[in-house]
Amino acid sequence: MRSSLFWDFLLLSFVKERKKHIGVIFISVVILFLLDSTLFVSSSIKHSLLGALKAQPDFIVQRVHAGERIDMPLEWADKIMDIHGVSSITPRVYGRYFFEPKHAPVLIMGVDFLDEQSHRALAKLISKTDLKSFLSSDQMIVGDGVMQYLKSHFYSDAYNFLTPKGKFKKVKIAEVLPQSSSLLSNTMIIMPIDLAREVLGMDEETVSDIALNVPNDDEWENISDKISALYYDLRIVSKEEVQKGYENLYNYKGGYFLILFLITLATFALILYQRYSTLYSAERRHIGLLRAMGWKISDLLKFKLYETLIVIIIAFVLAFVLSYGFVFGLGAPLIRQIFLGGGEIVNAAPLVPVVDGSVLSTLFLLYAVPFVAAVLIPVWRISVTDPKEAML
């Protein structure tokens, strides 16, 4: 079979029978669009989160009772600092606070006046506020989602926190964290450490947990063992574990939808298979006729394979372009809520364009292989029968 005549006929046939293909392309684009969009959102969030988590401390030491984290004495930080190999240590104060009336949860983080690491991280995010004056007053820096929530409840300059002691504490809003950091900071409120303790109802000599760095990777296991030996109720969480936790969370969310879409894809393949296996009489006659005209079985399979590949490529490229625009241009409305939560505090973090090549090729194979099989197997079954029978 000389290629030029074959290709001419293939393209001609495809164009002339376009109505037959448009339906299949449309369904394919819808399925692939949803699948691509989910994977783009998932990849983008994971990429941004893992990038942000690189700045995390090497270890976090928590006190655990009954499987739950509880506050720990500040003096334990000194004991940990005494371990040889620990370079820096940051006692952290944080906790959940629920905004009434809708019980919207936020995370209050206390920043230590003396902690340089936190100062540096914070200085990168804020522009208007002088950090030293901020740390010495009753002010807070809030995430974008928190600000939007407060505004919607008519708090634009300050908020009155109700402390566990039953008193109101008015805290002024000094600045809003940039939207680009919303993935991590959307529901976050940063305030001086003593103010955070007061709002959360914590004692002066207690902390939520202790973050520490160990520059020598080889010492990680050794130091982890030493810390564990200090107190019986400690849990040590490494940076890798935090990262894996996030990865698993988004893999789980992405995976859940992947399974749903795979079921849809499988159904689609079954429909196609059924369509071609009970090939409507015109299609059967078409195959029988081409065989009667001298087409070999291999010619027919080649023809149908290329015809199917054209459909697949058009659908795949179209779905890719549409979903790319939908996710990174329009911000993936609806789908992002699945990943970033759709609670009272809306997360408007921008999605950084990230396309995972391996995920995309897997998706292509998952779509293309069943599709090609669903078309070619029935065509082959008809091709191997006598042309006269196929034309009946």
Binding site: M1, G294, K388
Partner: protein, 224 residues
Amino acid sequence: MIKIENLNRVFQDGSDEVQVLKNIDLEITDGECVILKGISGSGKTTLLSIIAGLDRPSSGKLLVDGEPIAKLPDEHLSAFRAKRIGMVFQHFNLLEHLSVYENVIVPLVSTDISKDEAKQKAEEAMRLANISHKAQMESSRLSGGEKQRVAIARALVADPDLILCDEPTANLDRANSLKFIEIIKHLHDMSKTIIIATHDPLFDALEFDHRVVPMEAGEIISAE
């Protein structure tokens, strides 16, 4: 030369066996025009399909130039159909979404010839079938007679030496049937071997050399 010896074709109808062709013996020499004559169900279309390599006999021998075509593997049987057989079907069997020219070219797509050569052959075949003037028209818009001529052009495009026609005038009016017979006469003059399965009385009085082979209930009554 086509040689058929003791050929049988049996179809399975549930648990019953239906013998459509019974002990067929027939010889057709090159350049001969043979009319297989008989009423519906006499087995002439089945015999034609077996000669064309579209169906296989249940038993017996079919040799085309000494080659047992029914036993050929797909690769060779397809090549035989592509290069040696030109088939005209009762219902034309055109690809309705394609134009006349595109329909005519279909048998050449599976061969090794170039695009230019294919174009030349298609134009020549359309000229022989007197349908060149409708080359770009979509097949679905043609009349019955025109469709028949497209089917003839398609059958001729690969320049086969064996033309097989199954009830070629069944869907044509008298004028178009006569035109078809004119084309057949022309092909006969070109020394093509022609086999026509028909029950049309128009073929009783052909004005060129031909042989009528009457068939009845799957048997040839007289091959003389």
